[in-house]
Structures are given as structure tokens and as C-alpha cells.
Symmetry: C2
Amino acid sequence: MTAAALMTAGAARLARAADDSTAIPGKRPMILHNDRPEDLETPVRYFDSWLTPVDAFFVRQHIPRPATIDPAAYRLTVNGMVSKPLQLTLADLQKLPQATVPATIECTGNGRGFYTPKVPGIQWGRGAIGNAEWSGPRIADILRAAGASSSAAFLETDGADVGVASTPDFVRSLPMKKAMHPATILALKMNGQPIPDIHGFPARLIVPGWDGTSSVKWVIRLSAAAEANKGFFMNPGYRYPKYALPPGTPARPAELEVIEGMPVKSSITAPEDQSKLALGAITVRGFAWAGEQAIERVEVSTDGGSRWHDAQLSSPKLPFAWRLWHLDWRPSDPGYYTILSRATDSSGRVQPIVAVWNPSGYLWNAIDRVGVTVEKA
Amino acid sequence: MTAAALMTAGAARLARAADDSTAIPGKRPMILHNDRPEDLETPVRYFDSWLTPVDAFFVRQHIPRPATIDPAAYRLTVNGMVSKPLQLTLADLQKLPQATVPATIECTGNGRGFYTPKVPGIQWGRGAIGNAEWSGPRIADILRAAGASSSAAFLETDGADVGVASTPDFVRSLPMKKAMHPATILALKMNGQPIPDIHGFPARLIVPGWDGTSSVKWVIRLSAAAEANKGFFMNPGYRYPKYALPPGTPARPAELEVIEGMPVKSSITAPEDQSKLALGAITVRGFAWAGEQAIERVEVSTDGGSRWHDAQLSSPKLPFAWRLWHLDWRPSDPGYYTILSRATDSSGRVQPIVAVWNPSGYLWNAIDRVGVTVEKA
């Protein structure tokens, strides 16, 4: 490791150091964190379009994939606090009104590798995130068809993946208010095509604006319930401190809360960290998103954060989906430059300079930074 | 070292780790980096007044102090490109019109300990800086008395300290334009009293707004010259890269320039980094200065840099001297908070988030940060 690399905290270089030449079927070469189950990070050079192609979309699996589901045999059980329990076929789901929702999905631990002190878990850099167009029936329509009780406060969702040995089953609960939101769907398609097995075929919950873990894959059961599931993936998994403790401190379980909407953030995708560029026109690019909010503004600094310039933002301006941004920059001198990006959302949230350290390394959203050397042309 | 301390880069904890119980005559207990020659850092808790008391003022010596100068025997030689070379006694200097200049003096390496990767040299934290009222004759008056040539471009200043063995003599040169500035003086007094020996008795050059090295102690010779001195303390000492190179890269000597005016910066002096506080009213305090500019604004963030609040600034608003600032803060919840301060000067310069790394670790001026734990009262 060069001394230079020490300056920009961990994950970017870890990401580069990881092997991105190992192809997984259906995927371009990705940054491979694990191959069984697959944990694949998107190299930032693939982030050049508003919709992330399926073959470049990151993958986070907790448990090895279930056996490929036969679409003819697939059944979705809808039960719990409902007046008409259902067993729906894929054809039944396809007959319901279909909604299309552009939504960014981000691993809760995206950017974990940037935290100091280090925390256990996959050392994701910038690439455990992607933006896709998801299509399928609304959860609200499915629950209405089943006659869900108005006193049910939570929707419990079970994926077909089953824990091996001591690994717990993957079950998540969602407050009914979010489940009934018209943008919350049971996606059957991703970017217009059937969802690939690796992303949850045939049906994946999409909870726009919330952490990726909420968007359960291979959904086989939806249950209306009075209370949230108490299993591992709700507690202690995917919880965040209500009150931050000093970096390096263990969590206080009683003060951990379930993660819901995601924070405001931006990432720089070009130029790459520690790259060398010729003096001349340089385009700084990236993406920004803000959970349930829309991105209002992205500013870029090329002098380490003294002066800021408004980046050009892609349209449309939507909640749930990211916006791409770019800024044309023409440095007048050679030298080493620290480039930063800072996003502001429609509710006025602004990216912080320092992300809140937490024992699981969740929700990294500090102002992003890369260092580049500009050389005489 | 606790894991928590890892998050806030080096110097604060180095400063705390250093021994601040060793008293040097005439000084309160200071952070001792060296005792011969004396390199003493001011603990931030002493920074509670606009004028830093002499007994709390930092000390940076390059060479062991010269033998104490007998005021009756003291002579200042004024020579070089002058029509009337002079030998001035202390009484002669006292008879010239006396100017009083409040000026902040800062070691060029103040904050060096915050750089990553580490650089050699004293690992100063926040305390190699102080603000005092300096009084004495203007250099312009002394040079006029000696009939300095209008074609002299530099003033060379020699201190009575002499290098031991291979250590070079301490000689600095100043462009004549700065030397002739009405605020550039040969100080005989510091905060109204004769300058203590440790700070340059009986006469110290004060070059307001420039790096501390310019303010030569124990001045025994002023020479008008056509060119700048080429000795060690002008080259390679106290030079800064014209073009920054990637962190960890050696300097390119041809691209190093003499340091002149200092950048804009602020430091947080209370609460102390990694301290614990009771929930309730908390005052965040510090100082800010901007070399030859005045401080226009200081903003404080208590949420890691998302939102900023204007701090109250002390008057007067002057070039060369710092302003103290404070902000009353009442956190509503317990937890760990990252507090930041960001200064803006009268010329519109704003502190950066990332300071420019350089091989000598000079001019650290990134937005300052401390982490504090607020506990239930």
C-alpha cells in the first residue's frame, strides 16, 4: 500500500484490491466479496447510466440462494390478519394492476469500508448500490384482495431462502403504513425483464427509499401482523443506534432502532480515486440519492472543500431514485487535488462531513472524496 | 490508545499524551515537545483570552537560546544597502516612535500532527499559536534612519542564536515591501512588558500575518539587500509546494516557494476532544485567524457538518490578529457528537475540509473537529 492511499480511508482501495475479474453467470466482472452466497460490488466505472443494467447491479445475499423457483409451481401465501387467506400464482400476480417504480436499492452497509475504526462485515466501497425500474403489483392491492385487517400494524415478509444450520431464516417486517404506500410493490420485473434469479426471481419486495434489506427476495409469504417479527434479521440485525456512542464502543441493544428511510448521500464515480489525469478538461461524475426524498442539489469542490460549484443534475427529480450529476472542471495548474461531492435533498438534509460511526458500519453518508493527480499534458 | 481516539487524527491525542506538567521558568505547565531548545505547546484550556498571557504563549526554538543579552551591551547593526550604517542601542530603539500591533504568531507546523500520512517534525496539535500585543519601533523608521536604498528588495534579519556544530545560523529574509509595512515592527515589548528572553529579548521582529518563522528573535542585525538570503532557513526550510503532490510524495525542490501570508483557519478549544459532558448548556469556544486578513465569520456544526450556525465573534475585527468565538449549544439528546468549526476571512477564503498534505506538514488549516460524548445529566 502506498502512503498516498492512506489518506483516503479504506474502502476505495479495498474495492480496487478485490478481484473484479471473476465473472458470475449473468454478471459482468464485479468486485467479489463472497461467491457463496454471492456478495458482488459494482465497480464505479459501471455507474454511467441512470438505470443500472441488471448485469452490473450489485448483489448482497445473506444466505445461499434457494433452488431456482419453478414459475408454474410458485405460490405466494398471503395470510395472518386477513379475512381471505390467499395462495397466488405468478399468473394471479401478473393479472393485478402493475406499477412501475424507479428505485435505488442500497445495501445498508454500503461504504462500511470507509469507517474508522474498522467494523466487522463486508468492507463495501461505493458500489453496493444501484438504480433500477421495478414493476409489479402493489402490496396494497394484494393485501386488499386478502382482506387485511385495518388493525394489522406490520407486514411480515418471508423469502424462500432458508438458513443453513444455525443461520436464521430471512424474514423482515415492515410497518403497514409503508407497506400500503402506492410505491411499495412486489416486483416481478427489473428494468423491464423478469427478475433474474440472483435478484429474487420470481417476486421481490421493493420498499422504495428504505435500506436494501427491506426489499426481500424470492418472496413466498406476506403476513399481516399486529407486531413486528422478532427474528435475527429484525433484531439485532439492521438496527442503528438511537444515540451514537464514541467510535469503537459496543452497541447498547436497548438503544438500537430498526433502520427505515435512508440518509442523503452522493458518491463520486469519475475520476477514480488516486488516478492520474492530463491537464485539460475533466468531467467529475457521480450519483446522489436521499431515501424517500428527492435530490435537490449536488455541489462539487475541487479544492478540498473551500469552494463549491453546483453540479448538473439528471432529470427526473424523484423520490426513491438517484440522480446522476456531473461537473466540467478545467484545472489551471498541475498538482494533487481533493475532489468532494455534497448532496442536499428536498427536505433540506445535507450530507455531513463526518458520518456517524456505528458498530455495524451502517448508513455511511459522509461527503465523498477522491484524490487525483493532474499532470502536465 | 482507545479505539475511539483513532477517529480523530493524531495530534490532539499526541498533545494530551505529551507531558504538560514540566514547568519551564516563566511558563505555566506546557505540552513539552523538547526542552533544549524549548519547544512548548499551549494546552487548549489556556486559550480563554484574546491576548495570550506571556506565561502561556507557545515557544518554538530552532537552536538553543543565545546567552541572555545584556541590555546595556546590546547593539543592533543596520547595514547592507544603506547610506548610513548604524549601531543602535536599546535606548536608541526606545527613542524611536513606538507602534503597538496585536498579532497572532503561529508556528508554520502548527497542526502537523493531524496530517496523514505522518510527516517528520514536531507533532504539534492546536497549540503552536498565540495572540499578543507587540510594541516597538517600525522597521520602516529604522531603515529610513539608516538611509536604506530604494533598490534594496529584501531585508535580511539575523538572530543572536547561532547554530551549534552543523546547525546553520538563523537568518531570514523578507521582501522589502513587507518589511516597510507600518505593522512590521521590531518588538521590544510583549503584552506591555519587556519581551522575555525565551521570546527574543531584547528585540524581536514581528511580521504580522506571516508564518512565525519570519518573526526572528534576539535580532542583532538588519541588512538591506538586493536578494534573499540563501541559507537553510530560507531554502529548503519553510517552503511549501507550489503544486501539491499526492500525500506521501517527496517534495520537488524546484517547485517549493517561500511561505508568506498564512491561510484562514479556526480551532476549537472547548470542549476538549474526547471529553464527556452532561446534557445541558454547553459552550463551544475557539479562535480563528487568517494571516493578513481579518476573520469575517466562524460557523460551528454540532452534527458532523450537515448544519452550521454562526458563532459569536469577539471584537475587534483586525487583520493579523485572531478573533475568539463561541456558540451556545444545548443538545437535546445524549450521544456522541462531532463538533466542527469553519472560518471565513475578509477576502472570502473559507477553511477547507481537507488540508493540502505537504512533506513538511506546514499550514494545516482543515476545518477543525472534536468528538464529545454527551451523557444524561
